[in-house]
Symmetry: C3
Subunit: 235 residues, 3 copies
């Protein structure tokens, strides 16, 4: 369910690639600002039996039957090869859902490769706090690190008011202490951060006016989500 | 309070018949699709002293002062014979409310008599689950039983998706295992099921394209609600 | 935070007078119907260091960073003499906020002096109950006391329905048992009562068609709020 809500923050429809090792979903939002890359290993499932292929799915519609499950209910997914429908079974309830021709779903983007100078791991709740405060004064938020300084600074400047949150000490783990400073759209930041489960350690890779790479592991370590957010360039 | 909210799902105004043995309220919704029949024995009240008669009441307005009562507050109702007003007293608060001329309230319907082939008792929460799932794909829901099969099937079919919930085993108690299959409007089903208290055993009487008779006892067994819902005939 | 929400019920902007002994805020709503008078002694603050002066503040904007504080967080306020900005610091988060030229904020009213014949102390929750009940039947509420009778009566009369709540005995402490009866606008009463913390003893001073003076102490007794509400004269 958590995985679903992360993806739904970005896109309505997604292509799901099924291999013998697990699932991969790669989705980009319609404005090309944010990209999500989800890998779920077969071990993340109670049992996993799949013939390789690609599936187009409306994520909103998939969320409907999944919401009917209690926390401990097993959610079973089958692809009926005859009807081409996805069957979702939750505690006696059987929901049959039409798939979308995966060719009509937006093509998967190729993730760009960067070599970013700064990297830091921080708790999602600290990020959330900075993003919420920034939202009080502006539409943008700047993430900033300095070579040699063990701190991540989240700051926003409005017309009359300004906000600064400096995270340091036990709040962060600096992985690479390079110079970095980039402005991002708060709308996107809010969506990304909100859909990360509370108290999850999140790794940020940052540069100077470069995209942000944000990554975290799913609950039991059987999968990873990597999210990329394009910078907002000041003009 | 529970009794009030059940009735209010259907109608705004109702005629209340008072006899020495208790109260009877019978109400039909303005579209003639659903009918409610409530019987409250005198024993359901802390004390009951009434001269027989008929009272017209706006149920929405009656709910207002009743909502001001805490869970354990005694709600006292008096009919002031002089002013013709209903006096509601709740912990020091005195609310005087005009009654409606019972002749202007919609006449009480005569409940039709059926002999339905199938009957089953099921928990209200299981019904709720089926109705909610059906609501994801359609505006209608079918309730189905088969002669000889110990199961109640709740199903709905949309344009591309479909939902089936099969209740059997410990979830139900089949009272009469005849053939039955009828389609109902989900809007009405949702209202009826939502206003039944959680975890109440509910008895359904079903036929082939016949009205549904749904009945359950009030908390302490001092009253019964019988609700009838007209079928939605496919044309 | 509680103090802020009380003031915000009335006004958006306020002049805050700072002296060596504490803060005083006096605000009147734009319709001149209600007035608030807040005194916070220096002892109400963890530490208080101030140079006397007057500050114009947008209370809505001040509430934003204060909301980011957890219950036990210390909220620090500094006035930066150079930039003229108010700096709010909450657990590592630094929020700098422009003040308003106090000359552009509505002038402080002079509180009128009355000698009211009736006074009673009553729990805020009992007031709340009476106001909510009155709201079911009317737009106005009457507060009434009688010389020699140990009771406060809250009553409202609508077109067909009426509500009376009589508070006496242990529910009230009569300080002056004179004759008093005044009608007030329910909209204002609801706002005033809603923003008083639950279970606070509130003192009411009442007359015959005179303003209501409502006063209560802040949690630890280091400050007082006095609120005045103009009567609604029947015409």
């Amino acid at each position: 369910m958590t995985v679903l809500s992360s993806l739904r923050a970005l896109v309505d429809e997604a292509r799901i690639r099924v291999t013998e090792d697990g699932l991969t979903v790669r989705a980009v939002d319609s404005a090309n600002v944010a990209m999500d890359d989800l890998e779920l290993e077969a071990a993340a499932f109670e049992s996993f039996e799949a013939s390789p292929g690609t599936l187009g799915l409306n994520l909103d519609r998939l969320a409907d039957p999944v919401r009917l499950a209690s926390k401990d209910d097993l959610v079973q997914l089958f692809l009926d090869p005859e009807s081409g429908k996805l069957i979702v079974v939750v505690d006696g309830l059987r929901y049959s859902m039409a798939c979308i021709d995966s060719k009509t779903v937006r093509a998967e983007p190729t993730p760009p490769e960067f070599d970013l100078p700064a990297a830091v791991t921080v708790d999602r709740d600290a990020l959330q706090r900075g993003v919420k405060a920034a939202d009080l004064v502006s539409d943008h938020v700047r993430l900033r690190m300095e070579a040699g300084a063990d701190a991540l600074v989240i700051e926003a400047e409005g017309d009359t008011d300004a906000v600064t949150l400096e995270l340091d000490g036990d709040d962060i783990e600096v992985l690479a202490a390079g110079d970095a400073s980039t402005l991002f759209s708060l709308d996107y930041c809010k969506k990304l951060v909100r859909t990360i489960p509370a108290r999850t350690p999140v790794t940020l890779d940052l540069g100077e006016d470069f995209p942000l790479i944000l990554s975290y592991e799913l609950a039991d370590g059987d999968g990873t989500i990597t999210r990329m957010l394009a910078p907002r360039i000041e003009t």
